[in-house]
C-alpha cells in the first residue's frame, strides 16, 4: 500500500500522530481513494499545520520580547474602516464654511431653540399589522409625536395642513407585503426630505432581554460616525426629531450609529454602575436605515430638486467608498 507512513485506522483506535510525519514527496491527501483513510490523513495533516503555525507564533513572540524596546511596532490589521477611501467632503471640526452653513440652514431655528419638534408619523395606504404596531412603538420612542392613518390622502395635500398645524417633521413609513421597508423623513417648513430603505425591523416583543416600556421622558441622542457633509446634514435631521433638553432622570438614550453607510437605530436604557461601568438594556424598536436620496424641499417626487441620489452604478463600484 502506498499510503505513506503512519498507522492505518483499521481497528478504531488510532495511535497518537508522530511528531513529524514524513510524507513522500509525491503524496497528496486527496489521492487516497478510501474515505476513512483519507479523512484520517487529512486530520493529521491539519494537526500538523496547526502545530507549525503555533510554533511560528511562539518564535515570533520570543523574538519580539528579545528585542524589547527596539521591537518594531505591532502591525495593525486592515479593516474596511481603515482602508476607507478618503472622502473629500469629510467635515473638519474647524471648518468655517460648514459652520456658517449650519447656522443658516433649515435646522438653525431648531438648534437655536426657537422651535420645539412635533412629529407626525404616518404610513402608506392600508398598513398591515406589523407596520401599525411599529408606528405605535416609534411614537412612544419619539416624544411629542402623533400617529395618523392615511386613508388614501395625497401627501402633497397633507403637507400644507401639517405646516398649518405646526408640525415640524413628517415621517412616512412605507410598507411592502406587510412589513415596513421604507422611511421618508421630511422636515416640514420647507426642509430637506430624506428617503431611506429600512431593513431588519424588530418590534419590542421580538427583542430579547428587553426592559419595560419606554417612559415619557425625553431621551438623549447619540449620533455616531457621521463624518461627511452629507452625513452631517442627515445627522442634524435626526437630531431635530428630538427635543433639545434631554431628561436625564429617564436614563434613556436613542442612538443613530452610522457604519459603512448603514444607520443603526437603537433605543436603550442605561444605568451607571460605577464611574467606569455602565449597563445598558435595550428597550424599544430597532431598525437599520440606508439612505437612498436626499431632496432639498419637502416631498415631491416629480419636481423636487435632489441633493443626493444613490446611483448604484456609480457609487457602488468600490467596497471601500462610503458616502455618509
Amino acid at each position: 500500500a502506498g499510503d505513506g507512513s503512519g498507522p492505518v485506522p483499521g481497528d478504531g483506535t488510532d495511535p497518537p500522530a508522530p511528531e513529524r510525519v514524513l510524507f513522500p514527496p509525491t503524496f497528496s491527501v486527496s489521492e487516497i481513494k478510501n474515505k476513512q483513510r483519507r479523512h484520517f490523513m487529512f486530520l493529521r495533516w491539519k494537526q500538523q499545520q496547526r502545530k507549525e503555525k503555533l510554533a511560528l507564533k511562539k518564535k515570533r513572540r520570543k523574538e519580539r520580547e528579545a528585542l524589547g524596546d527596539k521591537a518594531p511596532p505591532k502591525a495593525i490589521p486592515k479593516t474596511i474602516e481603515n482602508q476607507r477611501v478618503y472622502d473629500e467632503t469629510t467635515v473638519d471640526p474647524n471648518d468655517e464654511e460648514v459652520a456658517f452653513d449650519e447656522a443658516t440652514d433649515e435646522f438653525a431655528p431648531y438648534f437655536n431653540r426657537q422651535t420645539v419638534p412635533k412629529i407626525l408619523i404616518t404610513t402608506s395606504d392600508r398598513p398591515r399589522g406589523r407596520t401599525v404596531r411599529f408606528c405605535e412603538q416609534l411614537a412612544t420612542v419619539i416624544p411629542n409625536s402623533h400617529v395618523y392613518y392615511r386613508r388614501g390622502l395625497a401627501l402633497k395635500r397633507i403637507i400644507p395642513q401639517c405646516i398649518a398645524r405646526d408640525f415640524t417633521d413628517l415621517i412616512v413609513i412605507n410598507e411592502d407585503r406587510k412589513i415596513p421597508n421604507g422611511l421618508v423623513l421630511s422636515h416640514l417648513p420647507d426642509g430637506p426630505t430624506a428617503h431611506f430603505r429600512m431593513s431588519s425591523v424588530r418590534l419590542r416583543k421580538e427583542i430579547k432581554r428587553k426592559g419595560k416600556e419606554p417612559t415619557e421622558h425625553v431621551p438623549e441622542v447619540i449620533l455616531n460616525n457621521f463624518t461627511t457633509r452629507l452625513g452631517h446634514s442627515i445627522g442634524r435631521m435626526f437630531a431635530a426629531l428630538f427635543p433639545h433638553d434631554p431628561q436625564f432622570v429617564g436614563r434613556q438614550v436613542a442612538t443613530f450609529h452610522n457604519q459603512r453607510d448603514y444607520i443603526f437605530f437603537r433605543f436603550h436604557r442605561y444605568i451607571f454602575k460605577s464611574e467606569k461601568k455602565v449597563g445598558i438594556q435595550e428597550l424599544g424598536p430597532r431598525f437599520t436605515l440606508k439612505l437612498r436620496s436626499l431632496q432639498k424641499g419637502t416631498f415631491d417626487s416629480k419636481f423636487g430638486e435632489y441633493e443626493w441620489i444613490h446611483k448604484r452604478r456609480e457609487m457602488d463600484t468600490s467596497r471601500r467608498k462610503f458616502h455618509l
Binding site: V91, P93, G152, F248, Q259, R260, D261, Y270, E275, I280
Partner: protein
Amino acid sequence: TKTQNFCRNEYNLTGLCNRSSCPLANSQYATVREEKGRCYLYMKTIERAAFPRRLWERVLLSKNYEKALEEIDENLIYWPRFIRHKCKQRFTKITQYLIRIRKLTLKRQRKLVPLRRKIERRENRREEKALIAAQLDNAIEKELLERLKQDTYGDIYNFPIHAFDKALQQQDAESESESDAEREEEEDDDEDVDKREFVEAEDSELSDFEDMDKLETSSEEEQEEEEEVEKKASHSKSKGKTPLKGPARRKRPYIEIEYEEETEPSTKTKAA
C-alpha cells in the same frame, strides 16, 4: 350547475361560447368594443359575407351615454332582440369601467419597483457585516461614559469622585501649559460647537452641547455652593473640549452674578 366555455373570438358579444352568441355561427351579428376610450359598434351582415375585409362595419358611438344608446337602437333597428339587448348591456359595462379608469388615474397610483435579488442579497450581507463591525453596545457604552466624564449629567450621579480628581489633575497640568490667548480663541465660534458634535464618536455629540448649556448653570450652582475656585477653572477647560464651553463661558459672567446675589442673603441670614 351547468358550466359554460369562454369564447376566444374578439368580436364576441357575451364572452360565452353559445350558438346564439358566436360571431362565426351567426351571419348577422353586432358587438360593442372600445378603443382608446371611445366605443364603437361593430356590425356584420350577410351581404358582406364574401368580403372578409369589409365584413365588420364600425360606427363610432357618441360620448353621451343616452345618445349612444339611441344610436345603437337606430343602427340595430329590425335586428333580433337578443343582439340589441346584449349590445346595450355591453356598452353599459364598458362605459362603467372607463369611468373607473379615469377616476383611478387621478388618485395616487402605487408604483411597483422591482427588487433586484442580487442587490438585495448583497445589501443584506453588507448590513450584517456592518452590524458586526459596529459593535453597537460597546460604542454606546463608551459614549455614555465619555459623557459622564464630561460632566453632562452634572450632579445626578454621585460617584464620579475619581473622575473629578483625575480631571482636576489633568486640567491643572493643562492650565499650566495653556495660555489665556488660546482660550480666548476657542471662545470664538458658536457654531464650532455644533459641528464638533457630528464628527467621530470620540468627540462629543449634539445633545452634549445642549446639555452643556443647561449644565453650565447646574455645574455653576455646585461651584458657588462649594466655593471652589479651582473647580471652576477645571470645569471651564475640560481636556481639549474647551470649544464646547465657549459660548457657555461667554454667558457665564451673567450667571455668576446671579448666583452670587442669591448666596449672599443666605450668608447674611446665617450670620444674623
